[in-house]
Amino acid sequence: MKLATGDRTIRFLSTVFASMILLLIAVIVYELFKGSELSIGRFGLKFLVTTTWDPVNEVFGALPFIFGTIVSSVIALIIALPISIGIAVFLSELAPQAIRPSVSLMIELLAAIPSIIYGLWGLFVMVPFLQMYVEPVLSRYFGSIPLFGGVPIGVGMLAGGIILSIMIIPTIASISRDIFNTVPMLYKEAGFALGMTRWEVISKIVFPHSRSGLTGAVMLGFGRALGETMAVTMVIGNAPSISASLFAPSYTIASVIANEFTEATTKLYVSSLIELALILFAISMVFNAVARLLVSRERIVQ
């Protein structure tokens, strides 16, 4: 049977657009590799493990940025995870039916706030607050632990982690809520009928049922934190150092690229920044791919 002309045109066009996505990704990967050729050739694998970042003498090592990226994201996750799960449990199990849609909407709107606004809020509200009230207290009582040692200056790893955590809470909370909602009433009722309390139903039935989906939600949140640029650049301090202290300034891959790309004058400098981008791309891709796999497997099982 011959397709009508309209159908054929649509099919042709949508195939073209769909292939363009694949092509785009391929081009990005190719360009990243090509752009970082010079730096890969010069530093090899040492690029990943050395800590000097010296544009004047053209010595580049990525470790402080990799460290800053991963550690700030891990801090974000540690803060965001319990809060997000709490929100999701509230929205799917505890809140009165009538208020669920409006609270859900507000959570999702948080994800729509432009990151520069989080950054401004972070810089003008959160950082002074951390510097004046939170960090001095932490350093007074826990200062002997290296994590809380050092000078409380407000901007730094802790501020970066907190701002990131606020930005990934909507992602983790709304996906977790969806996952909890897929747990059939049948099993929850079985729990109630055995004399489980609401909390026991949540912890013994809802959570185990959602395990792999939650792992996926967490990793998607983590992936988002890894690539976030603007807000974290404004509060993390932008110093390529590796410190055990949460108060010390740090630097992420996304931030250094954003800050230095326009002033990178030599070919090797540019190439090193592009190699950083390649590293970030690889880390994000791996996390997102695994996360999506886990989330979708959960949805299929239902």
Binding site: A193, L194, G195, I205
Partner: protein, 252 residues
């Protein structure tokens, strides 16, 4: 015989829809009480009110009194969690916990009751599975997921899970409706065996089943209790015309 449950003027709603109306009925201790009636007449809703699981559904509401050994389970001081530990329930659709093994399913309620000793749990699990006529079929795969069992086996597992915590009353909502005749026969046998120790309320669509397993039968229609009597009387000598029509298959 003693009255285990005294139900007085029980009403239940879903939002504005009233599902059962002014039910007053006594449940005898160590007896089997059957609840029959056409689809949608409120049988499920009725038994779900007896262990306070009706209120788990949003917008659900109950009024009236359900006296368990003389104390109203709906009084302000009564804790639904404790009520449900005394009044167990087997659902229409088998619902073993899919994330747990066969063993864990039966042990789930024991742990809630604070029983921690491993050998005591293992003994109770074995005994409950034997009582539920499932032990021989699962004893070699206790630690396999519960979902690897057939529907009939899953339902017997749910019965084992329910009786493991030794409730005083077991509510069964069409426990055999999804099962083949052999599994059904086993569950009926099981009811006969365990009724000395428990008080049983069973919902069924199957008239023969009600006649076979129960001592008392209540006939529901459109949310109302039409007739309640000894099973032998209901089936041989119904008083209400509608009961007669229903059990002789003239409607329903």
């Amino acid at each position: 015989m003693a009255k285990k449950l005294v139900i007085e003027h029980l009403n239940a709603w879903f939002g504005a829809v009233q599902a059962i109306k002014d039910i007053t009925i006594d449940i005898e201790e160590n007896g089997v009480t059957a609840v029959i009636g056409p689809s949608g007449c409120g049988k499920t809703t009725f038994v779900r009110c007896l262990n306070r699981i009706h209120e788990v559904v949003d917008s659900a509401r109950v009024s009236g009194r359900v006296m368990l050994d003389g104390i109203d389970i709906y009084s302000k001081t009564s804790d639904p969690v404790l009520v449900r530990r005394r009044i167990g329930m087997v659902f229409q659709k088998p619902n073993p916990f899919p994330t747990m093994s066969i063993f864990e399913n039966v042990a789930a309620g024991l742990k809630l009751n604070g029983i921690k000793k491993k050998d005591r749990i293992a003994d109770t699990v074995e005994q409950s599975l034997k009582n539920a006529a499932l032990w021989d079929e699962v004893k070699d795969k206790l630690f396999k997921p519960a979902t690897t069992l057939s529907g009939g086996q899953q339902q017997r597992l749910c019965i084992a899970r329910t009786i493991a915590i030794e409730p005083e009353i077991v509510l069964m909502d069409e426990p055999a409706s999804a099962l083949d005749p052999i599994s059904t026969a086993r569950i009926e046998e099981l009811i006969q065996q365990i009724k000395e120790r428990y008080t049983i309320v069973i919902v069924t669509h199957n008239m023969q089943q009600a006649a076979r397993v129960s001592d008392y039968t209540g006939f529901f229609l459109l949310g109302e209790l039409i007739e309640f009597n000894r099973t032998s009387d209901i089936f041989t000598n119904p008083i209400d015309k509608r009961t007669e029509d229903y059990i002789t298959g003239r409607f329903g």
